[in-house]
């Protein structure tokens, strides 16, 4: 037949014509594919040309061609009409932003807390490192106790430092870490309760979860700071920081319960059936079979809750606790460093600190999610 055909030599692959590969083709495909694309690209470039130089000028220190006063500079420079961000102010007040009113000669104690925390949490987050269980117990149980005694003092000849003096990034980290550490077990119990077949337990858990999820954190904090003292037996005083911690924990355990419930629901029914067919009691099958699997799957969800909690800790400034945001806010009315850009520099700094933490954690959670999705069994 006429169409009968056999190829006699194979065509070797050729590089794509210039109009489909290389930077020009890339630009044509990604920036100028259609007329309206080109128009938007041009407008975006105009916007960038307009916005980038002043922003750069504002934040870049003068040795990089900007107008900002670099760390270590003097306040008079910041007061110049043309001055950009006053990084000198940040570097001068850095210890306030990190430790709050913690006595300077005792800084080694929070530093030790930071170092210990880093030492324990890094291996916990890397899936390959062994001894997860020991590590987790150290971090979730032993570490908080050590931290408390280190920071609070009063033992081993360490001078007592009341919580009113704690502040800055230290308090931000304490609140978010304690919040998450305490709310994980409560959240798990609530999630199990919500899954339970026992009507009273289920109703109680649902009510608890839905109540805290429905109201804004700020009302919870107000409640904790105003009502908690009323709830306690007469004569008890409740530490201000502790009140905030209680509020934060109640709030975040409700959210964690929902995260854990997602993990429990994602487990195939077969796991539950297999566990009970082995004759394990409810608690044993939860502890040995169900929870280990469910919790591994909700690690990204827990990290995301932690990010939300970390951002939300900034609200404790409203009930008068000196977290990072509140120290920045307080320092911005510091006369010694008063300059036109003082406040905005403080917010930029705080924003960058929060951003670095949250962005890093969100990348971690995405990475973990991919890992779990592709079915690594670690």
């Amino acid at each position: 037949m006429s169409f009968s055909y056999v190829r006699d030599h194979m065509v070797e692959p050729r590089p794509a014509p210039v109009n489909t590969a290389g930077p020009i083709a890339w630009a044509r495909r990604n920036l100028f594919a259609t007329p309206s694309d080109s128009l938007m690209t041009i407008l975006a470039i105009v916007l960038l040309i307009w916005a980038i130089p002043p922003i750069y000028g504002f934040v870049a220190p003068n040795f990089l061609g900007g107008d900002a006063v670099p760390p270590g500079g003097i306040v008079e420079e910041c007061r110049l009409e043309t001055a950009g961000a006053c990084w000198a102010y940040i570097s001068a007040r850095m210890s306030f932003f990190i430790y709050g009113f913690y006595p300077a000669e005792e800084y080694w104690r929070p530093n030790l807390v930071f170092a210990l925390g880093a030492l324990l949490i890094v291996p916990l987050l890397i899936p390959r490192v062994p001894f997860k269980r020991t590590n987790a117990i150290l971090f979730f149980v032993v570490y908080p106790v050590i931290c408390f005694y280190l920071l609070n003092g009063g033992v081993l000849g360490m001078r007592p430092v009341p919580t009113e003096q704690w502040g800055g990034l230290l308090v931000t980290l304490i609140i978010s870490l304690v919040g998450i550490i305490c709310s994980i077990p409560i959240g798990i119990l609530l999630a199990l309760g919500r899954q339970s077949k026992l009507p009273i337990i289920k109703t109680l858990c649902v009510m608890f979860i839905e109540l805290w999820r429905a109201v804004p954190l700020i009302t919870v904090l107000f409640m904790a700071s105003v009502m908690l003292p009323l709830f306690m037996p007469q004569g008890t005083t409740v530490d201000k920081l502790l009140r905030a911690l209680v509020g934060v924990t109640l709030f975040s355990s409700a959210y964690l319960a929902e995260v854990v419930r997602g993990g429990l629901q994602a487990l195939p029914r077969g796991q539950y059936e297999a566990a009970s067919s082995l004759g394990l009691s409810y608690w044993k099958s939860m502890w040995f079979i169900i929870l280990p699997q469910a919790l591994k799957h909700v690690i990204p969800g827990i990290v995301n809750s932690f990010i939300a909690l970390f951002k939300d800790t900034s609200l404790v400034s409203i009930v008068g606790i000196f977290d990072l945001l509140n120290t920045v806010q307080a320092a911005s009315s510091d006369i010694e460093w008063s300059s036109p850009t003082q406040a905005i520099t403080g917010y930029l700094f705080a924003g960058m600190v929060f951003w670095v933490f949250c962005f890093a954690m969100s990348r971690y959670s995405i990475w973990m999610e991919r890992r779990l999705d592709t079915g690594h069994k670690g």
Binding site: T41, W50, I200, A214, V215, I218, L230, I344, Y347, G351
Partner: protein, 511 residues
């Protein structure tokens, strides 16, 4: 041994090993503990209150408040009652929530679509926005907008003046205050009726198009004339705007009129498209010129006009080369008629009833502005902060909603010959919206809850007025906190009821 007995009766289990009984015991224990805990708390509270000589009850709501509120939607002064303070706070919360939801939705949808744009720069832009904004605490952003931006505005005497007599200073934004007279009521009624009518017209025309294959003749013809009128009005505007760039145009006073007549005539012929290209280019030129001279004021005038002209050329090129194929059977949707209805009917009523809408222009006096409407900086900062923050989350919902519609759906629609607009309208958007709406609703709820942060920058919303001032003055902690929480609980439960209903309604039917 006991095996034989099994056939006759189930083996007796110790009652504490029977799962049912065990469950009941568990529940009794838990319930008992909870009740005991509550009782303990109540007892403590009662003792504490007694020791402080405080009473409980909601009677305080009907006492006069004795404080003023800086921003209220209903009349309120020191002689008003506490329940009125509650209403003021609630209304202020709802006000920022509604405004924030509207703006955040618009910004969020634009950003979400932009994140998926095939234009690399635009997609990058949206990604950076989302990643920066959602990783910084909202409260910090509010502080930034309030203390670093709005409070850093010039003092009253050096207010920035924006177009349309809008002034910006430390005390907020001052805009002209509309002063409607009684007849305006009818204009508003007419506008609402026109909107409803226009929507009904669109629905009806679409139905007819589906049923018969073409739009109703009356609508199609009406639309042609509406198109001409719209072309006249917009053309007039375009040529007038062009005068700001090309001085020669404004030199001839009757040019806009003549030009607009020509454009209107043109729109009735088959060359109407070129008229629209002209209008688009002219407006694009004028707007670009305005923006560029605002952004790059230090450049020579000639450069700016030239830059604006380049952008206008881009607009023209875009319009000329974009999709303007005649449809297979029928013209485009006759959009001009509904637009004209919405604009012209209220205008006509305005003219017929002799209604007048004056504006009270703010005037700078010795110490402050007289007249005008003052938008307090607290509210502006709160709305701006909530909008920008929530938009980042909405953008993510929109992006994942669109991505949830598989590429195969678009390909199938394309291979059937459906065009871009129809593909989106009939296939992609309906499916994406099912995925987007549930998380969108919870973002709305989050925004409403987050509006409570307004308390931190002094915006008198519910938490500020009620949990703040009222609680401080009356000391009725339990009552005030309970009422406030109840409000949010109600909002939240209503929202989740809606979501359940919606999910049940749109759930795709599966085997």
């Amino acid at each position: 041994m006991a095996v034989q007995d099994n056939l006759a009766a189930p083996p007796r289990t110790a009652f504490y090993n029977d799962p049912v009984i065990r469950g009941i015991i568990y529940q009794i224990v838990v319930a008992g503990l909870v009740v005991a805990f509550l009782a303990w708390i109540i007892f403590n509270t009662a003792q504490n209150l007694a020791a402080q000589n405080k009473s409980t009850g909601f009677g305080f709501l009907f006492e006069t408040s004795g404080f003023g509120i800086s921003f209220t939607l209903i009349p309120f002064d020191r002689s008003s009652y506490y329940w009125q303070a509650f209403v003021v706070g609630l209304l202020n919360t709802l006000l920022v929530a509604v405004i924030g939801i509207v703006f955040a939705t618009m910004l969020g949808f634009v950003l979400g679509v932009a994140r998926l744009s095939s234009n690399w720069l635009i997609a990058r832009f949206a990604t950076v926005y989302v990643e920066v904004i959602r990783n910084i605490p909202l409260l910090l952003q509010l502080f930034f907008w309030y203390f670093a931006v709005l409070k850093a505005m010039p003092a009253v005497r050096q207010s920035f003046e924006l177009p349309l007599s809008i002034f910006v200073n430390q005390r907020g934004i001052i805009v002209p205050r509309p002063l409607p007279d009684a007849e305006i009521f009818w204009v508003v009624v007419a506008a609402a009726a026109a909107l409803v009518g226009a929507i009904a017209l669109v629905v009806w025309a679409t139905r007819v198009r589906t049923r018969t294959g073409h739009y109703p003749v009356s609508v199609a013809q009406g639309s042609r004339f509406a198109g001409a009128i719209v072309a006249f009005l917009v053309g007039y505007l375009a040529i007038s705007m062009l005068g700001s760039v090309v001085p020669a145009v404004s030199a001839v006073s009757f040019l806009p009129l003549i030009g607009a007549l020509v454009l209107a005539g043109l729109s009735l012929t088959k060359y109407g498209f070129y008229g629209r290209v002209f209008i688009g280019t002219a407006i694009g030129w004028a707007v670009a010129d305005f923006l560029l001279s605002g952004m790059f004021g230090w450049l020579p005038r000639g450069v700016i006009v030239l830059g604006a002209a380049l952008i206008a050329l881009g607009v023209a090129w875009t319009m000329l080369t974009s999709d303007r194929r005649p449809a297979a059977t029928e013209g485009k949707f006759p959009l001009a008629l509904p637009i004209l209805i919405v604009v012209a009917i209220p205008a006509l009523v305005y003219w017929l009833t002799g209604a007048s809408l004056a504006f009270e222009i703010p005037v700078l006096e010795r110490f402050n502005f007289a007249g005008g409407l003052q938008l307090v900086p607290e509210m502006v900062a709160l709305v701006v902060g909530l909008t920008i923050y929530t938009a980042a989350f909405i953008a993510e919902n929109v992006r994942s909603g669109i991505q949830a519609v598989s590429k195969g759906q678009t390909e199938a629609a394309s291979s059937l010959g459906l065009r871009e607009g129809d593909r989106l309208r009939l296939v992609v958007v309906p499916q994406a919206m099912r995925v987007i709406i549930p998380p969108l609703t919870s973002q709305y709820l989050n925004l409403t809850k987050n509006s409570s942060l307004g308390a931190a920058i002094g915006y008198p919303e519910l938490v500020n007025v009620f949990m703040g001032t009222t609680l401080n003055q009356t000391g009725k902690a339990i009552e005030v906190i309970a009422i406030t929480m109840l409000v949010y609980l109600t909002l939240s439960l209503t929202t989740s009821a809606f979501m359940n209903w919606y999910n049940a309604r749109v759930a795709l039917v599966e085997r």
